[in-house]
Symmetry: C2
Amino acid sequence: MRFSQLYVPTLKETPAEAEVVSHKLLLRAGMIRKLTAGLYTYLPCALRVLKKIEAIVRSEMDRAGFQEVLLPVVQPGDLWKETGRWEHYGKELLRFKDRNDRDYCLGPTHEEVMTDLVRGEVRSYRQLPLRLYQLHTKFRDEIRPRFGLMRGREFIMKDGYSYDASVADAEKSYQLMHDAYHRIFMRLGLRFRAVEADTGSIGGNFSHEFMVLADAGEDTIAFCHNCQFAANVERAEVVEQEVLEGVVCPAAQAVPTPNAHTVEEIANLLQVPTTKVVKTMILTADGKNVAVLVRGDHEVNLIKVQRLLGAESVDLASPDVVEAATKAPVGFAGPCGLDLPIYADFALKGQNDYVTGGNAKDTHLMHVDLNRDAKITAYGDLRNITTQDPCPRCGGQISLAKGIEVGHIFMLGQKYSTAMHATFLNEEGVEKDMIMGCYGIGISRILAAAIEQNHDEHGIVFPPQIAPFNCILLNLDVVNPEVTAKVEEIYKLLCDMGVEVLLDDRDERAGVKFKDADLLGIPIQLVLGKKSLAKGIIEASDRQSKVKVELPIADFVKSYTDYQSQIWVNWSTQSSSL
Amino acid sequence: MRFSQLYVPTLKETPAEAEVVSHKLLLRAGMIRKLTAGLYTYLPCALRVLKKIEAIVRSEMDRAGFQEVLLPVVQPGDLWKETGRWEHYGKELLRFKDRNDRDYCLGPTHEEVMTDLVRGEVRSYRQLPLRLYQLHTKFRDEIRPRFGLMRGREFIMKDGYSYDASVADAEKSYQLMHDAYHRIFMRLGLRFRAVEADTGSIGGNFSHEFMVLADAGEDTIAFCHNCQFAANVERAEVVEQEVLEGVVCPAAQAVPTPNAHTVEEIANLLQVPTTKVVKTMILTADGKNVAVLVRGDHEVNLIKVQRLLGAESVDLASPDVVEAATKAPVGFAGPCGLDLPIYADFALKGQNDYVTGGNAKDTHLMHVDLNRDAKITAYGDLRNITTQDPCPRCGGQISLAKGIEVGHIFMLGQKYSTAMHATFLNEEGVEKDMIMGCYGIGISRILAAAIEQNHDEHGIVFPPQIAPFNCILLNLDVVNPEVTAKVEEIYKLLCDMGVEVLLDDRDERAGVKFKDADLLGIPIQLVLGKKSLAKGIIEASDRQSKVKVELPIADFVKSYTDYQSQIWVNWSTQSSSL
């Protein structure tokens, strides 16, 4: 492909709309353009990357024995009513009516539609397992679409579904996908980690997320240095620590705390460590209000609260509710005298002499003994794990890292098959609900995640496995007939070798060509100009390391092949699941 | 691929819902399943065919210098308001609101979105021509989705768009696509015809449809035996014939015509040929009522009426309107005394002594001279061409054939670029509107059209170019270890040769295997059983001709390769544009 004939409108300036690196670079490299909030057009270079990602995903899905199908984007509301998700899914499910006033939605996921297909076909255990997948467009009406392809509304996804006759078989399907996902992310040339995860609105028994490690990740993952444990902090359980007897606690005492709003400000003012301050949050769970207490240096985990309460939804209570419950402005809630069920994190148990809110304006209480001065309904695991906590599996050292969720696999059990009567006759002729799993990969998000993980101040650094081209060949002297003739010869040679080469044949300054080549992130740059032609060499450089080497023109086929192999090998050894 | 591991749920019975052959066979062959009206799921065999169609389309689009991009399915209403199509497109445009109450629609076509992309990028004539395309999902909320994939609501389409600086360049883009489409339909192994067509709701200056010839086609095409002329009857102009002086016409006379409703019944009752009966239709054009007259044996063409009137829309008037205008029940409208603008087809000119409706219940008029007894506003070309009409280009013999529209190319001119201010600076620095063309191919409809054109009483007869597999290998004795060992050897050989082979390894009766192989339409059937193994041969048969040959196992690679080549050559010589 010739640069002069490729539609790749690179930009010198970064558009103001872009907040994260991948969004900035995708715009600047002429790979995407915004249509409107959360909707993007993929230009030719982006499409080349997406197709490579899709090809790797497809080959590993096929290898795992899953079969490709294609389901409609538009889905009838009736199926979603069967599972109850028509009401519970929230506004991300974009609902509308067709010309005949029937309910439809844009598919954010396809459990209902796939299960409808399968229940229409499967009668007997002999037809199971049935393992299907598709690669297609999804739509989620995000409240705040942002970060370009990281959180768009319309996006490309691979979603797979397995239907099995027994839990053991279903676990086999799940493991097939777990292994396939490992192979996929290794082949994509990414550094990633599979972590235990919450099942969220998809539901089911257990799940794993596949995280691309990158500072811009919206998720935090906790992992152990000693064993295989790794989990989303949403999910990672915190082990209840040995109970320490506290000192005898003086009587509780109200103190004025004007102008002190944060935990740190309170701790400073009252000269206590933040571990001795209790944060009290008023929450609304399925319409009922509760209070939750965590230590001042800890973060409450709403998913854990939700799980402890067995609630459908948990949110921060509105200011009205907080003021009515505490009889004080927002910011001074405390457990003493509070007429709500109170749930406290394990870390608060067995110690005393805490500072809490005073349920009165500009007031806190010192010397609080929670068991003496408050009515704790229950203690539980209600906070995010920290690096001070031991590994819940082996007691080893925990570290935290940022990750971008690019894959998620779920053991769904019978949630959907029971609701939708997706049954089969087992070997005894008894009707049973199928056991189901579902398995997603965000194809377009991988494009963004790969850039978040791999870039430098000059632009994108694509892993060669998914780069839009294998190499870019820069003609530094397009007006010089000898240089151009040799460049054309090398270009033809590379094409004949099956190398995907982009020839920069534009009549532009060398600086512009180098800048664009760096920006586009093509793994290998080959440069030919008057000087190098005179020396009989082509300058090659590795986009990642920026290290330059000289390839002899006389022995180009072999020297280039070896050079490219070495760069691929380098990347393959970097990509890892740790 | 092994049949036992392929999800291909063939059916013995034809589902009652299916009306046309392609729909019946796609369901029976386990290639598609219905989700709901006009929405289908593609199962693995269908997806294999679609991918082959897409690959051919893609390669010829690339060859023509068009570049692939990918645009969102969901489109902002604001762009459609710019071109006025938000109001004029009709209910096929499925409109809805997102969670922020903004107008959106599902893209039935992408002129607006593509032009929005291009106007944001192009400043100078140096950036033109810009020729882009995509392969993606489209949605049209058809009033009566039917015939399976022939007229679905969600479908797969290739849509291309060209932006040029001059009419001459735009015509070059158009010709590139015209030629590419010829190559595409030839390579798909289909018998097709490019015809002049109406531009419909897309608009523009002129257009060509590409029609797959098949009896089930919803379109009728007219073509000349003497010259290259071919057109959709919607479009084919009728030449005004030499005016013949009529005989002197007696005075008009009302006659009772109870129980005579059709043209044929009136002609029989009154003992005149149908060419002497005038059909009068009351139409509503942009809210105004008009009458249109055509000869009894002719069919009115509403698109021609619309063009003559310069109207946005033309429909049959409601019964209320007809009764008010004619002061009679529906069925007795006539031109005499009618207080509406009256447009008459050319064929009625210059003759007289007609029978017309009497504008009174159960009454017609005989001996009507239109010029004497009625007030004709204008004569024009208002009907479909017939085989009695001469070719409008050369006067030659016209024939009619049925076709399925699978491609449509449009010279759009500046319709969209002017409305959306898609401009560029020309060589003199003057701002001009771009000249635009658009080019569609119905990918999923080709799957159905190929089957409508190629099937027999046993099932589908796929052209080898798009068949889901190159050949199917039937093991007739799966319990016989020697036969099975040889079949596996042949299967491995075929795989190694790069042949896409489906091995029917199921423990089923031979009859079931032959039936499924025929139904699926795979071009070559290879059969191995005890008898043929003893003879040292494999029976091969051509799905199209049903002719059987014996391929020696000893020389299998060469004999199979020659055999497959011959079958492909046979199909290639059949596919044609005439």
